[in-house]
Symmetry: C2
Subunit: 340 residues, 2 copies
């Protein structure tokens, strides 16, 4: 068990290290006003904390740096939430004043606010498209052989795709088909579209429509949801000014990870609800061993959850980020649900 003084020193050290990014020595800790024991005493305590695995040295005679265990302990037991200045609060609220024309824009702005105020990178995941339910489907003809198929979900998300129909399909058939789809597929979750198509729709179509075969393949293609992930980034380059990424190779591999698909999987693997922090190697994903991930969720309607995430160096300003991410996820949820 840690003594009070050890807790105190651990907290001080992490706080110092977070701002300086340099190993912290006993002397610099002793400089704090509220520390009234000598560097030598501090050295003894730090040596103990190191032995217990909360601290590390970068080389034999360097100052101390928090280990992952140290960060973990810090976020679990020593994290005191921080208040934002009125100024900052005002600026954040201000960003949400304007009218958002598309939902996407609202999410994008949230990402931007988050990355700007944390100075790290923000990642937003839209709610699972496949879980959404079909609200309405519609075909707008562009010309004789092409049209745009529009799929609206219960959350207000809109998918669209250009389709071209062979001449063998007549105009009145098309209308009939769209009506059938709307009738049979209303409130069906998108992931079920294909199977419903094969089962219920197929038989109805066969009875009512000419050139059944082609219509079916056309529908099958059109009702496939190709890329079920909506992902938004902001502030990717913020990471580059962090001192831990002054090495070009690290930059490249980090950016590659950020731009890759695996990061999505990593984010999806976070526990479903509430705020979570994963530090360094706690992330399964290779390439972000030196980063921490803080995530929480926002909601669209009553059931659909999206993810808000901040990725920064392990040496992250945890209290501030926790406060901010919590705040914007609430603002986002609010705005999404009483959008006017």
């Amino acid at each position: 068990m840690l003594t009070d003084r050890q807790l105190f020193l651990l907290q001080l050290l992490v706080n110092d290290y977070v701002v300086s990014a340099e190993p912290v020595g006993s002397r610099s800790i002793a400089k704090h006003d509220d520390v009234n024991f000598s560097p030598a005493t501090i050295r003894n305590e730090l040596a103990d904390l190191e032995e217990m695995g909360y601290l590390e040295k970068t080389h034999l005679s360097s100052g101390r740096v928090p280990s992952e265990k140290g960060y973990r302990f810090y976020v679990d037991h020593l994290l005191s939430p921080v208040l934002l200045s009125d100024d900052e609060m005002g600026n954040i609220r201000y960003a949400y004043q304007k009218k958002f024309s598309e939902t996407e824009e609202l999410i994008r702005v949230t990402a931007q606010v988050l990355s700007e105020f944390t100075n790290y990178t923000a990642i937003m995941l839209g709610p699972e498209l496949l879980e959404m339910k079909l609200k309405h489907i519609q075909l707008v003809k562009l010309n004789e052989t092409q049209g745009v198929l529009i799929i609206v979900t219960d959350t207000g998300h809109v998918e669209n795709r250009v389709v071209s129909f062979p001449e063998s399909i007549k105009a009145d058939d098309i209308e009939k088909i769209v009506n059938i789809l709307n009738d049979k597929l209303k409130m069906v979750p998108l992931y079920q579209l294909q199977s419903r198509l094969n089962v219920e729709i197929a038989s109805v179509l066969r009875a009512h429509v000419r050139d059944y075969e082609r219509v079916m393949t056309l529908l099958k293609d059109s009702l496939t949801i190709n890329d079920p992930e909506q992902i938004f980034y902001s502030g990717k380059s913020n990471m580059l000014s962090q001192p831990e990424f002054q090495d070009v190779d690290k930059i490249i591999s980090l950016l590659n990870v950020l731009e890759g698909k695996e990061i999505v999987r990593e984010l999806m693997s976070m526990p479903a609800k509430g705020l979570h922090i994963r530090i360094g190697r706690e992330n399964k994903l290779n390439g972000i061993e030196d980063c921490s991930l803080i995530t929480t969720t926002y909601s669209v309607g009553s059931e659909h959850l999206g993810t808000v995430a901040v990725i920064g160096p392990k040496r992250m300003a945890y209290p501030r980020v926790v406060t901010l991410i919590d705040m914007v996820s609430k603002l986002l949820t609010e705005n999404l649900n009483k959008q006017e």
Copy 2:
């Protein structure tokens, strides 16, 4: 005027420099099989080329590097288009085999192909949204007070936004309004929507609809096109492995430029049609003085043009990029217009 031998040497030197990224010396030029004069002769010629401004030295006793004038001459007079291997051709065509559900996806894939095969960064600009004409407008109700307004253009582009209507507006009014809009605004370019709204629509609405004031502000908001630029990137991090960007500061400023809005303006300032190359300082945009920009256009329908661009270091494999960008812009146009 340049002698044949000088032309030949300039071409050789640029080609060498493009692959090596190191100042080229007389000895290494002399090593080429088809060069049958000595380093000393080459030195004399290079000194002349330098005096004429086509070449530069990085320091007093270094090899030569093409100047911007040198590159300009090279692309204008010495650029011999390069053939792609069957293998590569196959791979590119293969990328266009799959079904594209949304137009966006097609553009995104094109960007990806381009960045992967050039190893530089690809930027795509969608056709000017504001130039598109309204094809159809529709409101899908989500619940009692909210709906999704969907705007389809003649090119098949779909804009959508969530709107919430006050209770004072009745359901049959809404239907009436949408009908009026479709009637009066069909084939009106999007940039005219606002003015048409104020002139023609206003009077009709005032006559037919309750709570005219609120409806008008609602419509005004909904029919604003907020962010008229569609922009897609691919391969931003490709630039980082270029030897000219081994410096972290350069990386940061380059990425900031790429992520900023000004790059769009720079791209829009390129001549309207055909293939164009801007080298280094020929770009007005600060921060890409060491880069070259190659652009061309693609078309959607008969009139709408989008931009395909590749940005790379001045020391770019011009022949290869020219071939590739030309090829993908054609493939993109093809696929957009006979999309099936």
